[in-house]
């Protein structure tokens, strides 16, 4: 912009840096959750996620020595590696939780009852005793070690497949999908016909109806909860998929009609009038001309409605989820996890990311239509 008059802006480097800072600031929280979902519970609690990219020194939880006992001379000896071959460098260690950094690597420590233990910096230990340690609880070792970055897919395995109870999102994932797809497709068709009538058919009251749609755009759906729940109970639907599909359809219609009408009204008049002159009925014009031409607007609305129904919590809680909990959706389950498992970040982060992944994919693939829809949809 500033180059128009032929001079290069001296601010350009500042603009680049400011943009970069803004983007990083906006990205940072999400990346934190993504990285956390690939870490074990111990890792999450022992260090901030931002340090997980680098080799880091951290205090490990106690590890109990274990291994096969061998008799060497008078001594019973157990040898092995504390870290099971994982790469780590011990900087200090101890044998009690009160002094976890008492010794340096390589030192040999006398324990009670004539036992000794030696720990090398790579985690190799030698444990000796004068009596057999069979069936006894062996010594615990506290280590402070520098370990290489280490990520795991275990959390995703738990959340998607093996988890029990609320840890397992598989069912909720399919429930969300079951809510979303019909709730996205059905309003499109209903709205498209109405939008065509409001855009290209002459009838008394048209302007009033358009104004009504604009007004309904902003009516809070909070008002609809109790009356509709009562209505659903009266007609025998109760809480269930049918109710939530109908509710999403109703709530999505004003935006759908508004977006599609705005788009259709901009289509060239000639095409439609020529078709009329050639004897096409309104139904034919709509199906053969308007619908194909309106594809970008249809896509825009479909994306909006998909994101909105996928991410919705309130409508699902009121119209879908009953006390049996069989029809819970992902957003609801995550709120439950926040309550009951507020400290289990590995499960929480992974569950949240599973639910975020699909909308993010849709967002990045279909961004063009989303932006176009936004520009058309904001009331001018």
């Amino acid at each position: 912009m500033d180059n128009i008059a032929g001079k290069k802006s001296s601010l350009s480097w500042a603009v680049n840096i400011a943009t970069l800072a803004l983007v990083l600031l906006w990205l940072f929280p999400t990346v934190g959750l993504l990285v956390s979902s690939f870490r074990t519970a111990d890792q999450i609690f022992s260090s901030g996620w931002w340090s997980s990219m680098f080799a880091q020194e951290s205090q490990n939880p106690a590890i109990r020595v274990s291994g096969a006992e061998q008799k060497v001379g008078d001594l019973y000896v157990i040898e092995g590696n504390l870290f099971d071959g994982k790469e780590a460098v011990v900087t200090a260690w101890g044998t009690s939780s009160r002094a976890p950094q008492a010794y340096a690597p390589g030192e040999t420590v006398e324990l009670t009852r004539d036992r000794t233990i030696t720990l090398q910096d790579n985690g190799d230990f030698t444990f000796t005793a004068t009596q057999s340690q069979q069936d006894k609880r062996l010594q615990r070792v506290f280590t402070t070690a520098t370990s290489a970055p280490d990520f795991t897919l275990d959390n995703y395995r738990t959340v998607l497949f093996s988890g029990a109870g609320t840890d397992n999102m598989a069912k909720a994932f399919f429930n969300t999908l079951t809510v979303t797809i019909p709730a996205t497709i059905i309003p499109i068709l209903v709205a498209a016909f109405a939008a065509y009538a409001l855009a290209w058919m002459e009838f008394p009251g048209r302007a009033l109806l358009i104004a009504a749609v604009v007004g309904l755009l902003v009516v809070p759906l909070q008002l609809a909860l109790i009356p509709l729940l009562k209505f659903h109970n009266e007609i025998g639907i109760g809480k269930g998929y049918l109710g939530v599909w109908m509710a999403h359809t109703g709530f999505g219609l004003p935006l759908a009609i508004y977006l599609l009408r705005n788009y259709m009204v901009g289509l060239p008049r000639d095409i439609i009038e020529n078709a009329r002159v050639d004897g096409a009925t309104d139904f034919q014009i709509f199906v053969k001309i308007i619908l194909p031409l309106s594809f970008p607007a249809l896509a825009s609305f479909a994306i909006f409605q998909f994101l909105w129904t996928w991410n919705d919590l309130l409508v699902a809680m009121v119209f879908l989820i009953d006390s049996s909990g069989q029809t819970t959706v992902m957003t609801r389950q995550i709120v439950e996890l926040l309550g009951t498992r507020g400290g289990n970040w590995e499960i929480l982060a992974t569950a949240a990311f599973v639910s975020i992944a699909v909308p993010l994919a849709v967002f990045f693939l279909m961004q063009r239509y989303l932006v176009r829809g936004l520009l058309a949809g904001s009331v001018k």
Binding site: A211, L307, P359
Partner: protein
Amino acid sequence: MNPALQGLITIVLGVGGCVGYFYFSNQFLDKVLYPAKGPNAGRNINRANMIRPWLFLAPALIALGFYLVYPVFETLRLSLTDRDAGGAFVGAENYSQMLSEPKFWEALRNNMMWLIVVPAASTAFGLLAAQLTDSIKWGGVAKSLIFMPMAISFVGAAVIWKLVYDARPEGTEQIGVLNAIYLFFSDGDPQTWLTIPFWNNFFLMIVLIWIQTGFAMVILSAALRGIPEETIEAAIVDGANPFQIFFKIKVPQIMATIVVVWTTITIVVLKVFDIVFAMTNGQWETQVLANYMYDKMFRANDWGVGSAAAMVIMLLVTPILVWNVYNARKEMR
């Protein structure tokens, strides 16, 4: 029945039903009711064309009427009745009960703060982001990334930000970024940010600002690009500096769009529910109207007061509703 199967059947029935309805109702109109032939062909065609728009509109109007218009009046009625007394009319009793609750005033106060802070901050950040990204080469990528939170659910965002605000006991490693930064610069104790009354509201608002900035940026960026270049060139020739160009030339020209963005975000703020519900559930003085209403309706099962709270939200939305309708009508003329 398996829900997936039920879903599939619903799609087929829903879509098939719609197509069938539109097709057959048109056929019926043209072939049976007012056939375009015989002695009255001309009159019949006119009559059919008078009825046809309503055929196209009927399903949408019925759905809108049932799911949005009727509930407004029904909620108004419910707010004036007492459910425990068998739905007897009680006048303004629910409202006076609501007004006597400190939680309601807390919710109203917080909602007002949300109304001031969130639209203002989102629009300001959005304007900044739009101006910055429009003038650099990798602006498209930057836009995408700032826009991305728009696709994330409020619940997902709540989890993301809870991790940012997380607090671990003193002396242990902090895993929440905010506490890590705080302790890096000061010697204080780790703070549980979401439980500090008054200020915790702002920590919740940040989440919505983070989500809405992308929306503001996209709309405002399009508006900025629509500004006629002559006005900017003229300003440059007259020796205006970049800041003057931005604030005195560009911003006044996109004022209408800024108002649109502002009101749209205001509507979102008025309905804000998920963020508060998932992060604090209204504890520690973070209650907002939508969550207060949900508490009343589905936890306390008090439909009267719940409906009264819903009517308050409706009342707050009404000025924007009227303004939008007024503008839409002006545009159509």
